[in-house]
């Protein structure tokens, strides 16, 4: 069930490389642990982000989760449909529920991410 066309990090974000952009979202596991998502605070386009830095917040009724940028770069685009329909992340975490896109990537950073098999293994260690 974990798409093999992308990479992962241990804070449960996925990264899909599309040309010179990286599309970023949260995994099915992450959306499931949050529950009904009610609000997404999206980052501003053109903001510079660093690897591991907090760049947006996803809220459910009982929890709020920081989204950590898996890569350094600059915010190229955000999924503004999430402002009105944050539940898209619950319904389609890997497709329609993508959160933001990054440009100005560092390819060395991309190579160091987990692939789907490694993430699947990592999930077994999570409760």
């Amino acid at each position: 069930m974990i798409p093999s066309d992308r990479k992962y990090i241990d804070s449960h974000e996925w990264i899909k490389i599309e040309g010179d952009l990286a599309v970023i979202g949260i995994t099915d596991y992450a959306q499931d642990s949050l529950g009904d998502i009610t609000f997404v605070e999206l980052p501003a386009v053109d903001t510079e982000v660093t690897k591991g830095g907090e760049c947006c917040v996803i809220e459910s009724v009982k929890a709020a989760s920081d989204v950590y940028s898996p890569l350094s770069g600059v915010i190229a685009e955000v999924n503004s449909t999430l402002e009105a329909e944050p539940e898209k992340i619950n319904a389609s975490p890997y497709e329609e529920g993508w959160v933001f896109k990054l440009k100005n990537l560092d390819t060395a950073e991309v190579d160091s991410l987990m692939d789907s098999a490694a993430y699947e293994k990592f999930l077994e260690t999570c409760e």
């Binding site: 609000f39 605070e41 459910s60 009724v61 009982k62 709020a64 920081d66």
Partner: protein, 445 residues
């Protein structure tokens, strides 16, 4: 008297059920070395004895003075129904409505309070209240900083000096730059304010009526601030809002103030009620509890605490604020007060304040050697200049049965001869006439 129901026999039975031989066994986790070095507290007394002690203490307070003391905290009339309703144990002895099914009374009252505050201030959303008006103002600064990503706050010198001191303390350890702009001629100095605004400025704080009682139209400040992406926070006096331009009407982004004047006794400084209201787009940046309408499993309407993901039990160190409760009982009092007074009653109260204050102003103006400071439009409070130290005069008036007002020298160096005088609907023409005569007499001595 310790209000414990269980008898010694029942305690024994319970210990036995726990498999313990004595009360001491319950405390065996506390080692000998950690036992109290002393516990020198007087013996307990009966309700009758303690009542006598406390009544004697109450009689040592000068609560009988005819008071013209305001400074942001006012002696307004409190209808008896407020005490009768707010002291019902179902409200009084409940806690934060964590279990909405058992707390629809508190939750609905908060929702109605939020609505009242919005209707009074002309804003779109309100929280369930914070500790007091000063805390509300500090929390509004934090909101503005979070919303703009900037860290400079400009404060008009007409903002209550106690609130300015509170903001100063609360921001001491944070990278926030505070800049105060002194008042000239009793009003916010537009030239100096506009000069202080820059691209790092998160918010401009103004107060209406200001600490000198002067009413203003801050629309020009709002326009200028908004053109630079700066938020405007207006601290205000809820009774005055029945008559004066509201924060909503001037386009302010956050309205705050103390709700003490809405049916809450002065009680020597608290508990009071800090209200906060804002625009819809800033709702998620607002700290504190908020009650919202929703549906139950059977499609019936009901209320819950909502937007909790902003709060510290979920966000911990990243929360919008560390405040985890509201002044629910004070908010309930304000809700009952505004329901009893209603649309006409609040307006009539405000008109009485306004007319009596203006009558007082004319009476004092007529006294030789007294000048009204910067004779500007006011609501129920104004400043006079005396031919002597205002503190000394206030002392002389206490001997004559009056709390004459607040001497400004304490917070405004150079204004030692100035006195801030407030009049509420509780003062009669007779009180005012007698005060004016006594004051004139005192000045002659």
């Amino acid at each position: 008297m310790s209000y414990i129901a269980n008898t010694a026999n029942e305690q024994k039975e319970m210990l036995k059920a726990c498999g313990l031989s004595s009360i001491d066994a319950l405390f065996e986790d506390i080692p000998e070395r950690l036992k109290p070095k002393s516990f020198n507290i007087p013996h307990g007394k009966s309700e009758l004895e303690v009542s006598a002690t406390i009544e004697k203490m109450a009689s040592r307070n000068y609560s009988h003075l005819t008071s013209f003391l305001g400074g942001g905290f006012y002696d307004h009339f409190i209808p008896a129904a407020i005490d009768a309703l707010a002291s019902r144990g179902e409200f009084y002895t409940a806690y934060t409505p964590y279990q909405p099914e058992l707390s629809q009374g508190t939750l609905q009252s908060i929702y109605e309070y939020q609505t009242d505050i919005c209707r009074l201030t002309g804003m779109e959303v309100s929280n369930a209240s914070v500790y007091d008006g000063g805390t509300a103002l500090y929390e509004a600064c934090q909101m503005a900083i979070n919303a703009t990503g900037r860290n400079r706050i400009i404060i008009d010198g007409g903002v209550n000096p106690i609130y300015r001191k509170m903001i100063h303390t609360h921001t001491l350890n944070l990278s926030i730059e505070l800049c105060e702009v002194a008042v000239t001629h009793g009003q916010g100095d537009r030239e100096k304010i506009f000069e202080a605004l820059n691209k790092d400025t998160a918010a401009m704080i103004v107060q209406n009526p200001n600490f000198f009682g002067v009413i203003d139209d801050h629309s020009d400040i709002v326009n200028k601030c908004h053109s630079m992406g700066i938020l405007v926070i207006q601290s205000t006096y809820p009774v005055a809002l029945a008559l004066i331009k509201t924060p909503g009407e001037i386009g302010a982004d956050i309205a705050t103030g103390d709700g003490q004047s809405l049916g809450i006794p002065l009680s020597f400084g608290g508990p009071y009620l800090g209200f906060m209201a804002t625009r819809k787009k800033l709702a998620r940046k607002m700290p504190g509890r908020i009650s919202g309408l929703t549906m139950d499993t059977q499609g019936r309407e009901g209320f819950v605490l909502t937007l909790q993901a902003r709060e510290q039990h979920i966000r911990r160190e990243k929360a919008t604020s560390n405040i985890c409760t509201n002044q629910a009982l004070c908010a309930l009092r304000a809700n009952i007060y505004l329901s009893l007074l209603g649309k006409e009653g609040l307006k009539e109260t405000a008109r009485l304040c306004l007319n009596k204050a203006l009558y007082m102003k004319e009476r004092l103006k007529a006294i030789p050697n007294i000048k009204v400071y910067e004779d500007l439009p006011v609501f129920n409070e104004f400043v006079i200049r005396l031919p002597m130290d205002a503190g000394e005069l206030a002392g002389m008036m206490i001997d004559r049965g009056f709390a004459a007002g607040f001497p400004l020298g304490r917070y405004y160096p150079g204004m030692e001869n100035y006195l801030l005088v407030a009049v509420t609907e509780k003062r009669t023409k007779h009180d005012i006439d007698l005060f004016a005569e006594t004051l004139e007499d005192a000045l002659c001595q």
